[in-house]
Amino acid sequence: MQLNVLGQENGGEAAASSCASGSCGSDNDQMAALPEAIREKVKNHPCYSEEAHHYFARMHVAVAPACNIQCHYCNRKYDCSNESRPGVVSELLTPEEAVMKTKAVAANIPQMTVLGIAGPGDPLANPGRTFDTFRMLSEQAPDIKLCVSTNGLALPDAVEELAKHNIDHVTITINCVDPAVGAKIYPWIYWNNKRIYGEKAAKILIQQQQKGLEMLVEKGILVKVNSVMIPGVNDEHLKEVSRIVKEKGAFLHNVMPLISEAEHGTFYGIMGQRGPEPEELQDLQDACAGDMNMMRHCRQCRADAVGLLGEDRGEEFTLDKIAAMDIDYDSAMKTRAVVHAGIMEELEEKEEKRKRLAAVNVPASADIIPEDTRPVLMAVATSGGGLINQHFGHAEEFLIYEASPKGVRFISHRKVDQYCIGGDTCGEKESALAGSIRALKGCESVLCSKIGYEPWSLLEEAGIVPNGEHAMEPIEEAVMALYKEMIASGALAEKAPEAESISA
């Protein structure tokens, strides 16, 4: 059979799947670089806006089990280990069940603005199930934004249909643009009714991804590109990927770390391929950022995640629980509209305040920080709302910010094992706390609402200064305030003596 790579005879229906990309990520100040029309579209999307992700929630429904490619970081015997977190079996839903669940969540969590289909296979390799779900939702719940993630193999065939359902965000996972690199990531694809291996397979996949990207951009559909950083395989190469996809009009490029534990049973896990160190990841993300917004808060959500980024309330919405709920979606939609307007107002107020503060700060000469003051990494414990409002011991993850003379910049989030889940029931408190401290490596301070005596002293020993003084304050302002306090106290003197001359 003649392969017709660029035409798409026969590709679509048959597409099976790979683990589809998660659909989260963001960064706020770089939001400013986006054209107004795009900013308008993404400003209340928790995955694309660092600001919005503290307020708005997203959910994924697992309606797409089949996949049409194999990735070396995925093992279909478990869940996809990279783009949906491993270890827990998803409850596969029919399109009807997915619609029921979405409406139940939207009614109970009015902050939920985005519904994504991301797997557990490749959504576009399940066109019937994926598009039935989108069609019903755009009819029955028009106030919910729809998005989809794909490996791209079946994308060109799906663009027409996607445009019909008014889906404005598509995430394509693109790990390479060179078939020789691709052959080290994808062992096979299912294409034109055959299993195809090696470079030949990678070449077809790459062509389909690039073509799909171009077609979406032409239709005015927002495209985000996700890449998995695999040290020694595609790390350097991703800079070129970044350049090409941005040239073609992707509005975001999100680089995620490879997850490759041996127990996931993936090729990379078994063969001992390592994932990137946090610093390597950050360097590559910085190199790929350019003038484009990166999504540092991306949580690599599971294909069935529910709630604010970093939290998963899926347990509250299992099928039997939903069946017992009586949802009046029309009235829910009214409540939702009020809640959304309230949040947008609050975000706008924050924005105004930021501008006001910026305007006030500049002329205040005492406030100017010399350009050569060294930057500082700080960790923040927050349970949402953009505030420092979480107890150190309750934080399941920390947000990492960098304070520098240029301002405050969100870097990433780091997961920690909880050393205390309310109460003193845990036996291995100390060792788990040591784990949290390791997760904070490189940070000089951690801001939280409260902190216990024991972790306090251990943190200090580790050279991380705990700070509860800024409880309930907005994160960026508190980080900047603490940075100035550190400068004033001479805490930055060791590595940057010139900081001593500063008064805050």
């Binding site: 099976a16 062992p187 078994i270």
Partner: protein, 92 residues
């Protein structure tokens, strides 16, 4: 002549979607092939479609009971290496 699915199937639906004979059905533990309907794709495709898309090795067997996708053929993980890793994980 017919193919069959064994219990390593992970219920991913991929084969179900591509079978030209509607021979595959969902069953309690895993997907199964109705031997009366399965044509081995004769007349439709050069390769049996279910076995061309199934991601799990040793899950789809030919009429003689042999795995169409033997261990290592899809993941690229050499079977010894897999065993070594699994032994090590279990010993933890």
């Amino acid at each position: 002549m017919a193919l069959s699915i064994v219990d390593s199937c992970v219920n991913c639906w991929a084969c179900y979607d591509v079978c030209p004979s509607n021979a595959i059905y969902q069953s309690s533990a895993h997907f199964k092939i109705n031997p009366k309907k399965c044509t081995e794709c004769e007349g439709d495709y050069a390769h049996p479609q279910c076995a061309s898309i199934c991601p799990i090795e040793e899950t789809i067997l030919d009429a003689a009971g042999e795995a169409i996708n033997p261990l290592g053929s899809l993941t690229g993980i050499p079977p010894e290496k897999m065993k070594e890793a699994m032994d090590e994980i279990q010993a933890r």
